[in-house]
Amino acid sequence: MVEAVDVCKGFGGTPVLTGVSLTVAPGTVTCLIGPSGGGKSTLLRCINHLEPVDSGQVYVDGRLVGYREHKDHRLRAMSRREVAAHRAEVGMVFQQFNLFAHMTALQNVIEAPIHVRREPRSQAIKHATKLLERVGLGAKIDSYPRQLSGGQQQRVAIARALAMRPKVMLFDEPTSALDPELVGEVLDVMRALAADGLTMIVATHEIGFAREVAEQVILLAGGTIIEAGPAHQVLDAPRHNRTRQFLAALSDRRRPERAR
């Protein structure tokens, strides 16, 4: 469903992704783990062309992202309209939720279907209500984002992304900005989505979630893929030292400091 081939991306001379290649099969969940600054967010943003790649290719559902291939294999940048049409097929959930602050939860969810897909309003509302109930927020459809907790806002954001019936959903550290108590409700929603067969790419620090739900786990550090493979292998029997180091550091944070 998603394929990245030798993707390179830098900002102002600093390389952030160097030669990243990965494949995500349809209906599976891939978790990107790794230290901050390792390139996880950038990779996700390259997949829906919020950032254009410097070199390499990204394919979603077989179609090249951001560029159109010409006869002699030359690439031409897609028009803004084509890029927008592509983005409508790829859902994204942000770390900071980014709900539209001047609209209620329901209005947030129906906004894109009505104005981008030109769905009739009543149909959009029906679909949106169902989605909001699915994420457990049926009672909050008329609340403004500032009246909702972080976990509730993120669930509305998930419903908003789902309303466009995307082929693949990207999650950029969806629970990193949440209180520990609220993390669980968002992960529950994500687990349910995975069980329903949604193709998901999740950048996260939640190793427990990755172990439970992901088919593939990829460790991204320093702009390159250190290790990629099935979840139980990468997380429980990592082959590379860097992976072991990273996982150890994560579990050390959770365990209280022991007297030495």
Binding site: F94, N98, H115, Y144, R146
Partner: protein, 317 residues
């Protein structure tokens, strides 16, 4: 003083509920007293001084000439603000364009119109006929389809709204640009991630939220324009000020008539201020300005440092 002779271990619930007594501030009371005295003295001179001629003020306050002038002033202000806002949005978008040529055009527009004094701009437009005899619409550098004499086109009214409107548009462009820049970039990203085009995102997501930041300075600009419109009197345009000037050039009662004009400007400005307040409430929905438990407004930025009164339950607000 605030503590009764009761033992300190047994708090009096009635006294607790009433809250502690506010500290006495002698310096503050003195300043208040001096200011009140000064204000009362000024008010006294205004009422008692016969040269104010309040009778004349009353006589002309609702006269036909003054009201017509007021109507013209309001019309010029409204039309100029509409032109200014519409052009302002366009120029703001020009300035933020990714095309360097468009951005440069926008910058130059703002630069020129903010540099030349409004009075000079008004006179320029009024005397446009000296530069361009006729205005024609047609193919650039080619034959013309329609033709008009600039002298006929540029009436005092047209010159007024052109001058005020264009001048206003430069300031509005900056205000709108500031408002758009002030919207959280995450909003634009979320809109883009949903497949919204840039224009759609601007119209549905960014501009509505930018309005919250744009409204207060725009309210300022409307009031400014109202008063700047008094300048059109140099174009012999019969606005409020010019109408009043005509009257006092005949009966020589300068001060009372200027008071008439001032009172009207004051009344209109007050109404505009109330209107601005209502508008701010409307565009602020979803964002929420805080109110303390007592209903007293606290600006969010100051809430941490402003001394607050303790509430009824004894909790700090």
């Amino acid at each position: 003083m605030a503590v009764s002779s009761r033992s300190s271990t047994q708090a009096d619930p009635v006294a607790q509920a009433a809250g502690p007594i506010a500290p006495i501030r002698p310096a503050r009371w003195m300043v208040v007293a001096v200011l009140l005295l000064g204000l009362s003295m000024i008010a006294h001179t205004i009422v008692a001084n016969p040269t104010f001629e309040w009778g004349i003020v009353g006589h002309y306050f609702l006269s036909a000439q003054v009201l017509q002038g007021l109507a013209n002033t309001l019309e010029i202000t409204a039309v100029s603000m509409l032109i200014g806002s519409a052009l302002g949005i366009a120029v703001a978008l020009l300035r933020m364009s990714s095309s360097r040529v468009l951005a440069a055009i926008g910058w130059t527009y703002v630069w020129v119109l903010r540099s030349v004094p409004l009075l000079v701009q008004l006179l320029f437009w009024y005397n446009l006929a000296a530069l361009y005899r006729a205005l024609s619409v047609g193919i650039p550098y080619g034959p013309a389809i329609a033709h008009a004499s600039v002298n006929q086109l540029i009436t005092p009214f047209v010159a007024a709204i052109l001058g005020l409107g264009l001048h206003e548009s430069a300031y509005m462009a900056e205000i709108i640009r500031a408002g758009i820049l002030g919207v959280d970039p995450g909003q634009g990203e979320a809109a883009a991630a949903l497949g919204m085009s840039h224009r759609l995102a601007l119209r549905r997501i960014i501009l509505p939220q930018a309005l919250r930041t744009i409204t207060p300075p725009t309210g300022n600009e409307v009031i400014s324009t109202l008063k700047a419109s008094a300048l059109v009197s140099v174009l012999s345009m019969k606005d409020l000020l010019y109408s009043v000037q005509i009257i006092y050039s005949q009966n020589f009662r300068t001060i009372p008539l200027l008071i008439v004009a001032s009172l009207w400007y004051l009344i209109v400005t007050s109404m505009l201020t109330i209107g601005q307040h209502v508008l701010e409430r409307r565009v602020g929905r979803g964002a929420g300005e805080g109110r303390t438990r007592r209903g007293r407004r606290q600006p969010r930025s100051l809430r941490a440092v402003t001394p607050l009164r303790v509430g009824m339950t004894g909790e700090h607000l």
